[in-house]
């Protein structure tokens, strides 16, 4: 979780994010529910932050459970500034 680069999974709505969190809690995968970084959306949304090494598992879950996601982003920090790149 401490790496400078990580994945952000965003959802269609707060309810979907809460559902998503519940699903992730059943997995053996370290994640964190965080407020969606401003660089992705300025609205008050929730997303799931995860280690990019689990990207395949995350995509698998999303497809398998047909989670209502908005997108998956790669986020990294440079001089305390966030940078994002949409990866899914």
């Amino acid at each position: 979780m401490e790496s400078k680069e990580f994945g952000i999974l965003t959802f269609e709505s707060t309810h979907h994010a809460i559902e998503g969190e519940k699903l992730f809690k059943n997995l053996e995968l370290k994640f964190k529910t965080i407020p969606t970084p401003r660089e992705i959306t300025s609205s008050c949304g929730l997303s799931i932050k995860f280690d990019l090494k689990h990207i395949d598992e995350v995509e698998e879950i999303v497809n398998e459970k047909s989670l209502a996601i908005k997108g998956i982003y790669k986020l990294w920090k440079e001089n305390t500034k966030n940078h994002i790149e949409k990866i899914y």
Binding site: I18, E21, T33, I34
Partner: protein, 198 residues
Amino acid sequence: MKREVDARGEACPKPVIMTKKALDEITDGVVITIVDNEVAKENVSKLAKSSGYEFEVDKKSDSEYYVRIIKGEAKEEANVCIPDTFKDMTIAFSSSTMGEGSEELGKILIKSFIYTLTESVPYPSTLIFYNGGVKLTCEGSEVLDDLKKLEEQGVEILSCGTCLDFFKIQDELQVGGVTNMYTILEKIKNPTNNIIIG
């Protein structure tokens, strides 16, 4: 060797810089820094602490604090505090959730809030937890990692002892110290620098 640094009237981060300079100039001995406010006293104390030096504070009056730092045999220099990292601000958590309306949502919001604290500088100087808020600092809390991270950065974390006792979770405290109502009042009495979340 003994040195006195009079940092009264100096604005942050000057007292810390002056103290650091005095400490750097001596190989061993004592540096006494005189400051005129609580925040400066805290910052100078943090410098001593983070450098691994013993120190003691003598409060002569509300506007006169003597911080006595003993520089002994060279210990490894730890991360030196950057005074701008902190803001003289207390955030009090009155509950383990944020806001009313939905408990489920409230739990997620408080997690989000505390995570966001770890991401934004300056950090608040103190976090206080009381009533249901103490559940956040105890075993089973989902925000322990973030609170520990804040504590490592020097944020003071305090849980209300009466409340820990009430919920019978004194033994489950995982981060920060225990405090009482006197300290809580002291930390939140200044309306310009406190936020109550609950």
